[in-house]
């Protein structure tokens, strides 16, 4: 009988049978190891959570009263003889790649990652392993990022231009409340003016500050905030507020949109923003290949993104790549409806997980989102 792999892809998430824990499960389980605090990786309802220190306050804020253990990068935790450690993924503050070792066999689950140092998240570190489970949200060669300094230069110039024209400046972007909001905040030219935040973003900022993260000063927008003051600064808001009465009161304003998808003209036009900035918390095409190469892995499993195309290309250039379907959403895509719900399945943790063959679409397991 073939040896059972250390990690399996099941209808609840990535599972380690030896250690009896799941990584980023999307259905409730007993023991969950969480790569980062975004909603499609940290679901509610698990009995126990293990995450990085920096994810603590955001997780508690988002998921309420959970049983949570946190660790530092590089610190080792053992579960049923399986050694677990967290390594910087550079995606957002507190994001980690999860390294799993058992009897000399090493697996790494990337979670979401980017290779460029964004100045606020602990920079990505490659981890040598035998098996690497990688995201590939932007696994197409048309996605190649410019250094963020150039993008922030454009953002600051745009802001300065709006100040001159007397228009308010509003920036939105996906997965912004944790991640891009802080990245933008730390890289803006604050000599131009104050940074104002939408409540949803300020709540996350406060959680991060409770966690000891040093962020530049921000001011929460309340019904009493005078709009003349706001016009002298810059507003960071979630995309759902675009065009809402909340935003319209700052009129006239210029709306900027930060996302990797802005690299494509069609996608940019679809958003109907005034400006699109190509800024992503995911690795671009070259970043993905560099990261995968640096692991020295025997086999790479590709989860969300352009998995089929990227797997085919990697195989052609000499890697052993396989495509895996998961429920991780593309957190930068506004076109994505809400994550599928699992009502009525909350009690299913008593049953054994169904192991799915590679390539089977777990999207079906949760039913259609329509």
């Amino acid at each position: 009988m073939a040896k059972k792999p250390l990690l399996e892809f099941t209808d609840r998430g990535i599972y380690c049978d030896k250690g009896r824990f799941y990584i980023d499960p999307w259905k409730p389980v007993d023991d969950a190891v969480i790569t980062h605090a975004h909603g499609d990786h940290a679901y509610p309802g698990n009995k126990h959570y293990l995450a990085h220190h920096f994810s603590k306050e955001v997780l508690l804020y988002r998921l309420g009263d959970i049983r949570l253990q946190t660790v530092a990068y590089g610190e080792k935790v053992t579960k049923n003889g399986v050694e677990i450690s967290f390594h910087p993924a550079g995606h957002v503050i507190g994001s980690a790649q999860i390294r799993i070792e058992y009897q000399g066999e090493i697996w790494v689950v990337s979670g979401d990652y980017k290779v460029e140092d964004d100045g606020i998240s602990t920079p990505f570190e490659p981890v040598r392993c035998h098996h690497f489970i990688s995201e590939c949200t932007f696994g197409m060669p048309v996605y190649k990022w410019k250094p963020q300094i150039e993008i922030f230069d454009d953002i600051n110039k745009w802001w300065a231009g709006n100040l001159q024209n007397g228009a308010a400046t509003v920036l939105v972007g996906y997965s912004l409340s944790l991640g891009k909001a802080q990245r933008i905040l730390q890289n803006l030219d604050l000599s131009l003016g104050k940074v104002y935040t939408h409540g949803a973003i300020e709540n996350t900022n406060e959680a991060l500050r409770r966690n000891g993260v040093q962020l530049n000063p921000t001011e929460r927008i309340t019904p009493d905030t005078p709009k003349e003051e706001v016009r002298k600064g810059i507003v960071i808001a979630p995309p759902s507020s675009a065009g809402s009465p909340w935003m319209r009161r700052f009129q006239p304003y210029s709306l900027g949109y930060c996302s990797g998808w802005m690299a494509i003209r069609g996608a940019k036009k679809r958003r109907a923003a005034d400006r699109g900035f190509v800024l992503s918390d995911h690795a671009d095409w070259d970043g993905l290949i560099t990261a995968i190469d640096a692991t020295g892995c025997e086999c790479v499993y590709l989860t969300h993104g352009y998995t089929a195309t990227f797997a085919r290309y990697l195989n052609e250039i000499g890697y052993n790549a396989r495509e895996v379907h998961t429920l991780y959403s593309d957190d930068e895509d506004p076109g994505m409806p809400e994550a599928p719900e699992f009502a009525g399945e909350q009690n299913s943790e008593t049953g054994a997980s169904k192991v799915l063959s590679f390539g089977e679409d777990l999207g079906e397991a949760g039913g259609s989102a329509l």
Partner: protein
């Protein structure tokens, strides 16, 4: 080229009309006159001739990008625009070029006499000295797929503000046959038009729809409230053919279609009557296929559009005639500011004296005493092979472009059936990387038979939902086309239906589009092929 690339980027970066006009003015004020004329030519749909065939450009771009062919193709699926795909995939460069738009276009035109190797060398060198944004517009020029997200009227507005000439004059002066290499900017903006090109058509006057969609039916009372007294209006049928302008000047004839294509040779049947018109006559009308004095559906006319050679058979099967709507020039004089009623009597006089009354027809006025009566007459449109009714204010001048107020089109409701989506394909442009092009089917017994493709009619939000469904319910992939689980039902509207031997279903639709998503209907309740065929009215 840097200025032109920057213009493109800046136009993309704003949705506000005033800012677009400012961007256009900044461009005009910063480039040489020859560049201005080239830009005008490009922005008014006058593409340079394609000097390298698209397959070669694509193959050389793949070579320059160092990626396999299939990956290029998949990238194109994601980007939805060939010029942009090529620009994104090529490696960054550290060279730059200061050549102007005029110089680049001259180089492209010079390729005509070059060998394939010389063309390739030139192209690879050119790519290597352009940055991403420049490459994108350069590729657009090269592949002749030039479309811009700004209307010609905005370009004219900017030009008008710079030159001090009114927009209607400028619109007229950039119509017709001209070449940016010859037509001078100073000529374009001078106070008095010089001896104008005799083939030049007038800008078409276009009607505004009375109702945007079929759900917003307008009643006779509403018409009275917004249009006033019936006696101030003339009503005509709205014919479904090719809108055209027919010109006779200095013993020469020209036929222009609304897309500003010179189509004189496409309609030889019209030549005798045009040649018989007095010099200095311009007529606005609709070209339709006619048999035994009756107009035929658009699909009969369609069989001869796009044909290079009009053989005897085609001319016999689909003979054309003109239904004249208006007269814009008489005795060499521009009479567009004369009233609608005044122009009508000129047109009637012209038509009354023709010796070709079967070919040179006139759009009959529909007598009506009240808006209620006209609403009833409108119901007969389909039987008349018309799309509805046109309303023209008797005091109206012939204006430029689509203007609200004096010309209205009052179309009939489309026919419709409920159908199941069975195939989906990704769109282009702003719908890139989203499944937006769908094929629909109706039941034939227990089988679903495809009968129409439709691209429009859903909101962005609905498109996102359908896209999400397609990605999770794909049964098979054939190249870019996905077969999807038959489940979603849509109401499909169309203007007309005809028998077809080219389609599996045996029918062909005119202007199919999605009217709405029928969330309430299971696929079993979609319509049948029989229902569709009953609409053929045979």
């Amino acid at each position: 080229m840097k200025a032109f690339a920057q213009l493109f980027l800046a136009l993309d970066e704003t949705n506000k009309t005033n800012e677009k006009v400012k961007v256009l003015k900044d461009y005009f004020n910063s480039v040489p006159d020859t560049d201005k004329m080239h830009m005008l030519a490009l922005f008014s749909g006058r593409k340079p001739k394609r000097q390298i065939n698209a397959t070669l450009v694509r193959n050389w771009a793949i070579e320059a990008s160092h990626i396999p062919y299939w990956l290029f193709e998949e990238s194109y699926q994601v980007v939805g625009d060939l010029a942009e795909t090529m620009a994104l995939l090529m490696p960054q460069t550290d060279q730059t070029s200061s050549k102007t738009l005029t110089e680049w276009i001259a180089e492209i035109n010079d390729l005509a006499n070059k060998t394939e190797n010389e063309k390739k060398e030139w192209l690879l060198d050119s790519w290597a000295m352009l940055d991403n944004q420049e490459r994108f517009v350069f590729n657009k020029l090269l592949t002749g797929s030039f479309r811009v997200g700004v209307s010609q009227s905005l370009v004219i507005k900017a030009l008008s503000e710079i030159s001090g000439l009114d927009a209607a004059t400028l619109t007229h002066r950039i119509m017709g046959n001209w070449q940016p290499e010859i037509y001078q900017y100073m000529e374009l903006i001078q106070e008095q038009g010089a001896a104008d090109d005799i083939s030049r058509p007038y800008p078409f006057f276009l009607a505004y729809p009375i109702q945007e969609t079929s759900e917003k039916q307008r009643s006779a009372e509403e018409l009275r409230a917004s249009l006033g007294n019936e006696s101030e209006w003339q009503a005509e049928w709205k014919w479904d053919g090719i809108r055209a302008q027919l010109i006779k000047r200095e013993d020469k004839i020209f036929i222009w279609s609304r897309g500003e294509d010179l189509a004189t040779d496409k309609f030889p049947e019209l030549h005798p009557f045009l040649n018989a018109l007095p010099d200095g006559t311009v007529i606005d009308g609709e070209i339709l296929s006619f048999r035994n004095g009756l107009p035929m559906p658009f699909n009969i006319l369609q069989t001869r559009i796009g044909r290079k050679n009009l053989d005897k058979k085609i001319l016999e099967e689909s003979p054309v005639a003109v239904i004249a709507y208006d007269c814009l020039e008489y005795n060499g004089e521009d009479i567009r500011t004369t009233t609608q009623a005044g122009r009508r009597s000129v047109l009637e006089k012209l038509q009354a004296t023709t010796t070709f009354p079967e070919i040179f027809r006139i759009s009959a006025l529909i007598p009506f005493g009240s808006w209620e009566e006209l609403a009833t007459i409108r119901e007969q449109s389909r039987a008349m092979i018309a799309e509805g009714i046109m309303l023209k204010r008797k005091s109206a001048a012939y204006q430029v472009g689509r203007k609200r107020g004096d010309w209205w089109k009052w179309k009939i409701d489309p026919l419709s059936v409920d159908a199941v989506m069975i195939y989906a394909q990704k769109g282009h442009g702003r719908r890139a990387d989203l499944y937006t092009d769908y094929t629909f089917a109706v039941w034939d017994g227990d089988k679903l038979v495809p009968f129409a493709k439709a691209y429009s009619g859903l909101t962005d939000q609905e498109i996102n939902k359908v896209d999400y469904f397609v990605k999770r319910n794909t049964l098979e992939k054939f190249g870019p086309v996905r077969t999807v689980k038959p489940e979603l039902v849509f109401e499909i509207g169309f203007e007309g239906i005809n028998r077809s031997t080219r389609h599996k279903s045996g029918i062909a639709l005119r202007f199919p589009r999605i009217l709405r998503w029928r969330h309430d209907k299971p696929k079993e309740e979609a319509d049948t092929l029989e229902t569709l065929k009953a609409l053929l009215g045979e």
